[in-house]
């Protein structure tokens, strides 16, 4: 009999609520013969305030033993900016070498978008997850004085760029439109830009069926609101990916439905799945959060572990639920989760 041994990190704010619904839907969709084991970990603001810890070596050892990780959200205004981000979220992505940060954007029927004319949106961003300006490289001299200098170093390696570019080409090859767009700023960031562009062209030669394109990150934001249909798969660096995937989420239904995977394709470490949204402390505990983004992250998790049919069932359920929503009275977080659980089970 098969098993799924899941680490669950509800985290802060609405993280608790949405993860509960994600697990509800996961239990409902899993075949009888798959044994689901979950272990909950208490990371985030509470733990930080109680112990000063964000993520210890022992924590990493424990997490390492799971098949995958489901995360709600980490972050609270009571913790200084950067402490939990660098000390937990980014530490985990780097420690487990989550170099493929996968963020699909699909505007589902009936879902509201801030864009006029309900454009066709169906693309996926492959954001590099372990390099770029996210490495924590840099420093400060003469801090707090009028002579302070602060630097941030974007580190890009052929190894790191090539593996994520390969992943993106393989994903593009597997999609009907077979189109891959590199987003960078190679006319200004010429050192990193040349590396990304050269590696992109080198790997492209191995994928003759994939149509390739290059767009500067600034222009990409224009196309995301004026011609989002031009994108199929996008590959980009860690920071540009961070920026454009929030915009992509906004135009394709909002961060209430934006899912993401922090993936280590080799399987050497468990991959982590989380909604793109944050902990939203302003609405926490009120049952107002939309669990769809977390539920869709569960679908990405299942697909990553080879449960394709179950992943598709979840996506269909969310799609059907969203299509119906206009006609439904406003529902709470758990009511939406219940409805999705019924759909995937049925």
């Amino acid at each position: 009999s098969r098993s799924l041994n899941l680490a669950v990190i509800p985290g802060d704010g609405i993280g608790q609520e949405v993860v509960a619904e994600g697990l509800k839907v996961l239990s409902a969709v899993l075949p009888q013969d798959v044994k689901l084991e979950t272990k909950e970990y208490d990371f985030g603001a509470r733990r930080y305030h109680a112990t000063g810890e964000t993520l210890t070596d022992a924590d990493l050892d424990a997490l390492k033993r799971h098949d995958a990780i489901l995360l709600g959200a980490i972050g609270d205004p009571s913790v200084p900016s950067g402490v939990l981000e660098r000390g937990f979220l980014l530490k985990l992505r780097f420690a487990f070498d989550h170099h493929v940060n996968l963020r699909p954007s699909k505007l589902l029927p009936g879902v509201a978008t801030p864009l006029a004319g309900q454009p066709e949106i169906d693309f996926v961003v492959v954001r590099e997850g372990t390099e770029g300006p996210y490495t924590g490289n840099g420093g400060t001299i003469r801090k707090g004085t009028e002579h302070e200098v602060a630097t941030e170093v974007s580190v890009n390696t052929a190894f790191g760029v090539e593996r994520v570019v390969r992943d993106a080409f393989a994903r593009a090859q597997a999609r009907p439109r077979k189109k891959l767009t590199l987003v960078h700023k190679n006319n200004v960031l010429t050192f990193a830009g040349h590396l990304w562009t050269n590696v992109f062209h080198k790997v492209a030669a191995e994928y003759p069926e994939v149509t390739t394109d290059y767009i500067h990150v600034d222009a990409a934001t224009i196309y995301l609101v004026t011609q989002p249909e031009r994108f199929d798969v996008i590959v980009t660096d860690n920071l540009f990916g961070d920026i454009i995937t929030d915009l992509a989420a906004a135009v394709s239904g909002g961060i209430g439905v934006a899912a993401s995977g922090n993936i280590n394709p080799s399987g050497a470490f468990p991959s982590m799945f989380e909604p793109v949204h944050g902990s939203a402390p302003d609405i926490a505990g009120q049952g107002k959060a939309d669990p769809s983004a977390t539920v869709l992250s569960v679908a990405l998790l299942l697909r990553h572990l080879g449960h394709e049919a179950e992943a598709a069932r979840i996506e269909d359920a969310v799609s059907a639920d969203l299509a119906e929503r206009g006609g439904l009275p406003a529902r709470s977080t758990s009511e939406i989760g219940d409805a999705l659980a019924v759909r995937v089970a049925g």
Copy 2:
């Protein structure tokens, strides 16, 4: 009698066409007693191919003697990416210490936006122009091998951050809503983020009437499409400013109407004014380019030199022209310029 001694750089592609209209409107709006002198400079792809030069010390000496610079666009697919950007555009911004990159966004009545529901958009981005990841700091080792490492260094100084933050506070103070938003990514880029955030709070204490706000750059792209009305003045770093001003242009009428100023507020060097759009080689020479962005850049130029009444006349003319456009047959670049010249003279 007063004079305006202008350096004119038509540049590449549609730069030629739109600058001609900008000058037409400038001549029409200037009071009789202001003597306009213009000198045209041939920079860009043609010069680069002919001589290998982009911007020499002698060029800088010549440009330095003008009151201001009007630029069309620089860039052509025949020149490798980065050569003209780093060798001309950025070289000039750095040489003349254009640390305030001013980019207003206003959705004028009757102008199409990709956003549903015609939101109210009227804000200005103050983008730092001489630091951040734009300094050209960084490098490459083992180029072209599987062990290549490429770095880009974002350099941020208290001096550089404070002067642009001060400029932004002064602009916010002068506007009716008096609101200033800092856009950064201080939860990840913690070294630069702390510097920007600390300087921002320090200067804020001197402007008690200005309401302040902080938004991460990724979230800012969401607000730009879902709640653009929340912005009044934004201050941000060079790269984030590059990205969000293209998005801002897209939502507020497109890059056909987006103007910008590369300003040295001290006057030690002439400031440069240019449309946000590029050289658009695909439509060059066909009279299809909208000269409005260049004409509005002329307005910023006039305001910078103290000709406030003339700047306002140009802005009113563009606004009236755009409001009428839906009812007009499609017009060429020079027809739009003619119409604007008539309006500002009238």
